[in-house]
Symmetry: C2
Subunit: 207 residues, 2 copies
DNA sequence: CTATTTAATGAATTTGTATTCATATTTTGA
DNA sequence: TCAAAATATGAATACAAATTCATTAAATAG
């Protein structure tokens, strides 16, 4: 799979292309698509603006290539953990571990997969983000206290920290919403709340 | 809490302000912040561009107000379900139900809480989005087959559809990542995968 | 060493859109 | 009915980039 039939010149060209992509990736990850100008990328990559356009058709294409490459690495790392011949529990543990490692190693780049607006330069929008997150935290506290009291009075097992449980319930619901938004017919949002809650209520292992 | 001490004129003014906000909300929800021009909002609201600026300092402020109002309604609906004097399981069920109803009623508006880029008009970026989602689905299939085989050979209980379980595991991890990104010191991403997996492995109710 | 091809440059151009403001219109109160 | 105050208007302005391209520089070949 090595590029052996590439001339010296072509390899050089490819290397510079990669350099530009790397500079772009770092900036996009920090400030989001709209927060970065082509000028800025050119400076970071130590090329002139025009040069970037010798390598990429447009800013959009550069963004696409940079992000897709990153995504491919991310998924490849995960897939590898599932291809080992292991029992299911081990596979899941390795998967979660691999994801965790990737996140820790690429902390700054992860943000980009969060909402693009979070990185806005506009002050009103940054304020909005802060306000929404405050509301979310308040909500998490409220939900956490439900788990807390359930654990205290013996209705619930202590399978995790109550605040974590609140955040997790939110994450599970968000996952269902994502499914539903992408393919509303194939994955309608469940009417019965227990379809979602049973994930928490019932244990996957033993009973 | 009613605005009784407002003059006829002031009430009118407020109503028009709300109308603009409503038009803006609909457009922002469909096409994202960068995908909508002030022109467009003005047309939808049936005012001239200049008029919007009599009501809002800037596009950013309009966005902020429109989105925040929506968010407040969203969280208020949820909070209400937790304030009723019910047992914990019922509270959680009502919470999930309330969220589901909100999502179904506001389908188009939900997208805005997903990544902003998804609504991009740039074709390269739309393509990127499609490519990432294809990769995600492939990954979900792989993970689902781990759950599937675990269920088949009796290692796992069938607490939900295997594909759902895969998506949910992803959602749980994403929830932890969000926590960690917001407050890295307070909520580090767990080193031990079982902190995450026990949510699935162990049941909240009975054992 | 020179000619020719290939690549890099960045100022100038184009584009898109947020914001302003002089003018027109409507509302209010006398 | 009319003048003053309040609002609405949208063409003009300002600005921030993305993209282009004529020019310059570097690399390669003869």
């Amino acid at each position: 799979m090595k590029n052996t039939q590439l001339s010296r010149r072509e390899k050089e060209k490819l290397r510079r292309r990669q350099e530009i992509k790397a500079a772009a990736l770092r900036l996009f990850s920090e400030k989001g698509y709209h927060g970065v100008s082509v000028q800025e990328i050119a400076e970071k990559a130590e090329f002139a603006v025009g040069t970037l356009y010798n390598f990429f058709k447009s800013k959009g294409e550069l963004y696409q290539e940079a992000m897709l490459e990153q995504t491919e690495i991310f998924f490849a790392e995960q897939a590898k953990t599932l291809d080992e011949p292991m029992d299911e529990v081990t596979k899941l543990r390795n998967l979660v571990r691999a994801k965790g490692e990737h996140f820790r190693e690429n902390a700054s780049r992860i943000r980009i997969f969060q909402a693009e607006l979070r990185q806005a330069s506009d002050s009103a929008i940054m304020e909005l983000d802060a306000q929404i997150h405050q509301k979310r935290r308040q909500m998490f506290d409220k939900v956490a206290s439900v788990f807390e009291s359930g654990i205290k009075n013996g209705s619930f097992q202590r399978i995790g920290d109550p605040y974590h449980l609140a955040v997790i319930l939110d994450g599970i619901i968000a996952a269902f919403v994502t499914l539903w938004i992408e393919e509303p017919d194939k994955h309608p949002f469940p009417t019965d709340p227990d379809v979602i809650l049973n994930i928490l209520f019932k244990g996957l292992i033993e009973d």
